[in-house]
Subunit: 283 residues, 2 copies
Amino acid sequence: MPNEAGAGLPRRLMASGHRGRARAAAGSRDPGEMGADEPLQHEPPEDVPPGQELAEREAPGHEPPGHAYRERKPPQREPRERESLERQIRFVIEADRLKKIARQSRITDGTRRENSAEHSWHLALMALTLGGHAPAGTDLGRVMAMVVVHDLVEIDAGDLFVYADSAAHARQEVAERAAADRIFALLPEPQAVAARALWDEFEERRTPEARFARALDRLQPMLLNMQTGGGTWVAHDVPLDQVLSKVELIEEGSATLGGYAREMIAQAVDRGFLRAVADPRAG
Amino acid sequence: MPNEAGAGLPRRLMASGHRGRARAAAGSRDPGEMGADEPLQHEPPEDVPPGQELAEREAPGHEPPGHAYRERKPPQREPRERESLERQIRFVIEADRLKKIARQSRITDGTRRENSAEHSWHLALMALTLGGHAPAGTDLGRVMAMVVVHDLVEIDAGDLFVYADSAAHARQEVAERAAADRIFALLPEPQAVAARALWDEFEERRTPEARFARALDRLQPMLLNMQTGGGTWVAHDVPLDQVLSKVELIEEGSATLGGYAREMIAQAVDRGFLRAVADPRAG
């Protein structure tokens, strides 16, 4: 059952004016490529110390070490294409900061909190593994793309605990929008728009892809909580009805996964990880 | 330029005998779904304490708290489908251990080593961002799937520094194959085979997707090294020719990214992160 829309998002997200150049077959040399027009073939002879062989072949005679690299032809790439690639790399480097954003959930061995980068990876793996439980026709490539970018805004806005109060959620929403404005704009224009649209789609939950991605995003911390003695449920004394409202979000994305989550919550109640009913006399 | 193969891998990877069930539209209730046949509608009235409302509606009268969850109908799901889902979840939970596998590279702020889960996420983001530099027709959905699973074997085998000696690489290869045998077999049969095939494809580097994925896997630590004062190059005093052999792997996946990497290496030499030529009198 091929789905033509399948590769849609990644292709759109990647659009950046480089397509013509990218058509060069792998391994072929485009004369316009910087530094790639002169393929290096270095299987150094065994009696030549590492590095020496290369310098000798490329800079014969009396050039100082490293000369071959410094004096290479200047890049032939058009300035705009070059700028575009540099912006993409800058975005990739900026994204690294997501590895420093701590979530509330702990990893399964309980030793530390999960960060948002590894959480995003876990969701992508879940999209691959559990994609069969998405509604028919769901574009799993788009789901993966969505979970990969969905938390980037936390680089500026930080992670908000899903059971925080509504005022905190409202403040977070404002902060995340500002973050999306800044972070996705690091990309070259057409990609910036596509990546932002992907993030908006996830937030709005109107497509099957967004609802399935969101279902995974809600299911994953429940799996971690079950592995860590109740995890954030116990640590924050989260009431059952709040957890059940997250189960509804899972059901909206996948009936099967929603059913699984509901069973898991019943177990969590049995094991004392969740209070079945709030005590009206409490707090 | 739609690419029918685009969604190919995720669809194959996700194949697990659940497709029939997954056809239920999002939000619809399949009577066979465990616990999902009775949609919960809980917008609790404001004067009812959290949790109370739900228990009252679903278990009116005198049942003890939590009863509604414990006494729900037993799952109608066929045992095989149920087992299949449980195996998928077990795989997802096992995969969490990748968050504990430390790589040699440090994250861009230099404060700690990167782990293999967040590294895999970074590669997936790079596939999205830099996919335009892959050869035309490259299936980026498959590239993403590949980078998401490629390091799972490190759960058992650990991460080997890319510049380790060839004996260590040979031992690592054996360990990784054994790990692949164990870890992918956690999945239900058809998925286990598909996931293993994906990992083999990455290792063998015969397809454009595998070569591009490998290029990203080689480029990413170079980007981190450039941000951390030379990173692993300096820490391990890696000779230039070894780094250049990795650049060749990048060029095999993408001429543009290979050219970019080559320029970066020239800068690394200029900045003293890499020795341009080995001193034959040394060591």
